[in-house]
């Protein structure tokens, strides 16, 4: 198993690590059993994601996908951010080893969970956004 240079770059020098105080939306997904937990913070102003931060417990791919996913959504509208799928994150990282694909699913889930939190807080509906999956095992079965 080998990581691409892009994955290693985002692992060694992760972008957007940290927290946003009073963030517009916060989402945490993953569980301890499989050993990956991602927490994403979004700052949303006028329907645009002006800042994104993350904290991740997990392997190299989990850190790199968190880093890339937060990079990709920054500056995007909510609808554009919904297009940042696990596939998009993976492609931006020049691919992931097959056993690590579930990490990219987690990144998408964490983003969606943060957006869901934002929608709940503001009492709005975001088209195409489903409530976050709490049981990550479900994600693994979709591989």
């Amino acid at each position: 198993m080998e990581y691409s240079e892009k994955v290693m770059d985002h692992f060694m020098n992760p972008r957007n690590v940290g927290e946003i105080e009073n963030a517009s939306g916060v989402g945490q997904v993953g569980n301890m059993k499989c050993g990956d937990i991602m927490k994403v913070y979004l700052q949303i102003e006028d329907g645009k994601i002006v800042d994104a931060k993350f904290k991740t417990f997990g392997c190299g791919a989990a850190v790199a996908t968190s880093s890339m996913a937060t990079e990709l959504v920054k500056g995007k509208t909510i609808q554009e951010a919904l297009e940042v799928t696990n596939k998009a994150v993976m492609e931006a990282l020049d691919g992931l080893p097959p056993v690590k694909v579930h990490c990219s699913c987690l990144a998408e889930e964490a983003l969606h969970a943060a957006l869901w939190d934002y929608a709940q807080k503001n009492n709005i509906t975001i088209d195409g956004l489903k409530p976050p999956v709490n049981d990550v095992d479900e994600l693994h079965h979709h591989e």
Partner: protein, 393 residues
Amino acid sequence: MKTKLYFDNAATTPVREEVLQEILPYFREHYGNASSVYAIAKESKKALEKARAQVAAAINAQPEEIYFTAGGSESDNTALRGVVEAYASKGNHIITTKIEHHAILHTAEYLEKHGAEVTYLNVDEYGKISLEELEKAIRPETVLISVMFANNEIGTIQPIKEIGEIARKHGVVFHTDAVQAVGHVPIDVEKMNIDLLSMSGHKLGAPKGIGALYIRKGIKVEPLIFGGAQEKKQRAGTENIPGIVGIGKAAELAVAEMEGTTAKLVALRDKLINGILETIPYSRLNGHPTDRLPGNCNISFSYIEGESLLLLLDALGIAASSGSACTSGSLDPSHVLMAIGLPHETAHGSLRLTMDRDNTEEEVDFILEKLPGIVQRLRDMSPVYEDAMKANK
């Protein structure tokens, strides 16, 4: 990044220079098939028997009780399947442990699918089995007890002599997977009542792809590989003479040097263990503090994940391993760490550093200098650490 500090000797070791020199003539000069009659074949035959005697001496066995295989996994497979088949008229029950290598566990699962009954003994928090539990598990139809000599992950050494006594008392064949132990801790198959023992060359400075199975005279083991009369029909296939010469020489050297190597490694190991535990909070030693392999250090760091730790160490040229799910290729952390009762969050953050004769105190100092910063760097980006710190306030 080039590996400068090799701390994964439980995974494999480099071939020792003395061993390499011994092996080289058997590739181009003495390449004969040991089963043939002409002159160069005799050289191969001679080398084969010399190595057999060297390996036997390393564990106090007789040369005719040593059978060469392609490695530890083949030896383990042969021992389990071969004994279960050979003693089928007595019964179909085997006893092993929850912390065996997968070469044992997966073979046991295979045997279960084919009608065998398997008892998997628990281990305590240090990874040791209970002799009482073992004795209670023995039934009239028990044909085999297989308990590893020393664990590859946490380094814990089992009470092998006592297990041997129990097996002998009940007339049950006793096998031990000693892949991590041969050449590293004293082994005497006579004193320890061991009937079968698996070993591997590449864990002690011999090449990969060579191993041996000790089978006590009188113990029946059906072969796994058929085809020729090699190894007294116990293991068919043209002998891997270079490998065999290598394992013979490596075993001889390891046993001759054991006292000095052990003293050095125990000092390095304890410096490493104590140094880490003292400087890094929320860390714990996995495995037994004293009954452990001389070169094994296994520590769990709460709130971080092992693969990330390995990648950051690799970036500094340090080669190590972990029991985290992400490094096992599955979604579960190591079965050994689960068996000693670690919660998932602690098992995922395990780091195994295994040393051998080439490691130095300077290397240990370098790791002790770098590790606290690496662990903290990962904790600083861990939401689990953040939650735990908030809860502590």
